[in-house]
């Protein structure tokens, strides 16, 4: 029944209140609350006061179920191939007017899916994702129990997929993943009935009241992937997507040789004759935009070469000019026959470091 009552003059300019818009009440009346309004009525008849009567109206406050999952990371999470236990950070909040449980589920988005941070997924991270509260090593949760209104809970999604030795496509971030690849992980938060601590509540239905109140879903839709998990408004479910971005080093290894001297010509136009000293230079170049290569180890096995290692000749962290090695390294590395080895300092993107050493031709 629709009843037309003249609205107050000041409210003539009311605009439409859209159901499902960002909730503006910070602390709404709890669902199930009965609002009793008792008015006292007095009058006289023929000068005689009549017994006071009461007129009573009751309103019941229904349950507005609003759950929202959001991403806390402000950009795609940078990871490296082979990284163990990478972490994504989400937040879940109950913005309704009653305590609810929230079921949590994490899943890897399919490849070629438009996802968060304007990325498109291009590889599959491992699918063994464990959710924690408090920190990445805090208590493990599969649901949030008795989540109070307006108390956001941070969820740490840790990809615990183990690397299988010898299988570069395994692990949380497979070793075989190229620089600049993206993988999306979704967190799906589903509102469940609250009221019983220690156990996950039943599914909430809009046709089945509980706790003395009807239920209405008023969650907003996160704009997300165009395929796979699409978040809808007003269904008790909120889905947020976070992204792993792979930053790998992009190393190119080059080996050059330079004849330094020979027994006949000395250092003037030396020739590759027995007794000549040859300098081998191994260049480690990291590509532009790549992740820094941390302490790359260079080894060179000389067993197939008719040469003899010159003791103490290894120099590391030399530079290059174009394709040519500069002899500006510092002493380092080691030789354990027949292998020369040395650990370079970190090689940043678009830079080259060298290891060089001398041998004599047998």
């Amino acid at each position: 029944m629709t009843f037309k009552i003249k609205l107050l003059a000041g409210s003539a300019g009311l605009t439409l209140a859209v159901l499902g818009a960002t909730p503006s009440f910070a602390t709404g009346t709890t669902a199930g609350t009965v609002i009793t309004n008792t008015a006292n009525v007095n009058y006289t008849v023929g000068g005689v006061a009549q017994t006071q009567q009461s007129a009573v109206n009751t309103l019941t406050v229904d349950r507005k179920v609003i759950v929202a999952a959001t991403v806390v990371d402000t950009a795609a999470v940078s990871v490296t191939p082979g990284q163990v236990n990478p972490v994504m950070v989400f937040s879940v909040v109950n913005s309704g007017n009653s305590v609810i449980d929230v079921d949590l589920a994490a899943a890897v988005q399919a490849t070629a899916t438009a996802t968060n941070f304007s990325k498109t997924t291009s590889f599959l991270a491992g699918s063994s994702i464990v959710l924690h509260t408090g920190s990445a090593t805090g208590p493990v949760v599969t649901y949030l129990d008795e989540l109070a209104v307006d108390t956001p809970t941070t969820i740490y999604a840790v990809d615990t997929t183990a690397y299988v030795s010898g299988t570069p496509t395994s692990g949380a971030i497979p070793l075989a993943t190229a620089n600049g690849a993206f993988s999306g992980i979704t967190l799906t938060a589903t509102a469940r009935q609250g009221g019983a601590a220690g156990s996950e509540g039943a599914v909430i239905s809009t046709s089945t009241p509980y706790g003395g109140a009807n239920n209405v879903f008023a969650d907003v839709a996160n704009t997300l992937a165009t395929t796979g998990a699409v978040d809808a408004a007003n269904n008790g479910v909120s889905i947020a997507a976070d992204v792993f971005q792979v930053t790998a080093a992009n190393l190119a290894i080059t080996k050059t040789s330079t004849i330094i001297s020979d027994p006949i010509n000395g250092t003037t136009s030396p020739k590759a004759i027995p007794g000549a000293t040859v300098r081998y230079c191994i260049q480690v170049a990291n590509g532009a935009g790549a992740a820094t290569a941390t302490a790359p180890v260079v080894t060179d096995n000389l067993s197939t070469l008719p040469v003899t290692f010159v003791a103490g000749s290894i120099k590391i962290n030399g530079s290059v000019t174009g394709a040519v090695c500069n002899w500006d390294g510092s002493a380092g590395g080691s030789y354990t026959a027949p292998t020369v080895s040395g650990t370079l300092a970190d090689v940043a993107a678009a830079t080259t470091k060298t290891l060089y050493f001398d041998v004599t031709i047998n």
């Binding site: 309004n37 009525v41 009058y43 309103l59 406050v61 009807n214």
Partner: protein, 152 residues
């Protein structure tokens, strides 16, 4: 002899409270809901007993004098429920209280204590609303009183 009897009867009648609820009062509630009428969506009031926090509610007290005599000094006093914030009333004769019913007046004349002295009372300060009809309600007549609030 007969006349005297009639006179006595007339005097006796008013003391017999034979009409317990000569004026009946119904207390109904209406909630603003969006409704699409002819393609345009606007807010209409629908009778409702279920509300959500933030809903705009109109409480209506409908009275009806079902007796054969007029009812006078008709007054209704309504304490605003705890979970409702008073917003206003269209009835010019209504008075409000901001001090729990101790004193009454129109909202514009009332003040409340604040940290810095007194300030003008606002609708959300109202604790009670009261209507006192100046005229009698004739037999068979009815009317409506209302006020508007928001569910916390």
């Amino acid at each position: 002899m007969m006349r005297l009897l009639i006179c006595f009867a007339a005097l006796l009648l008013p003391t017999l409270a034979w009409s317990q609820e000569q004026v009946s009062v119904k207390f109904t509630s209406f909630v603003e809901k969006p409704a699409t009428v002819n393609g345009t969506t606007k807010l209409v009031l629908q009778e409702a007993t279920k509300v959500f926090p933030g809903d705009k509610v109109v409480y209506v007290l409908s009275y009806h004098n079902s007796g054969r005599t007029a009812a006078s000094n008709f007054a209704i006093t309504d304490p605003i429920p705890e979970h409702v914030v008073f917003e206003g009333t269209p009835d010019a004769t209504a008075l409000v209280s901001v001090d729990g019913g101790k004193s009454w007046g129109s909202l514009a004349t009332l003040k409340v204590a604040s940290a810095t002295g007194f300030r003008a009372a606002r609708p959300e300060d109202v604790t009670h609303v009261r209507w006192a009809l100046k005229s009698a309600i004739p037999a068979g007549a009815d009317g409506k009183l209302s006020f508007r609030g928001t569910v916390r």
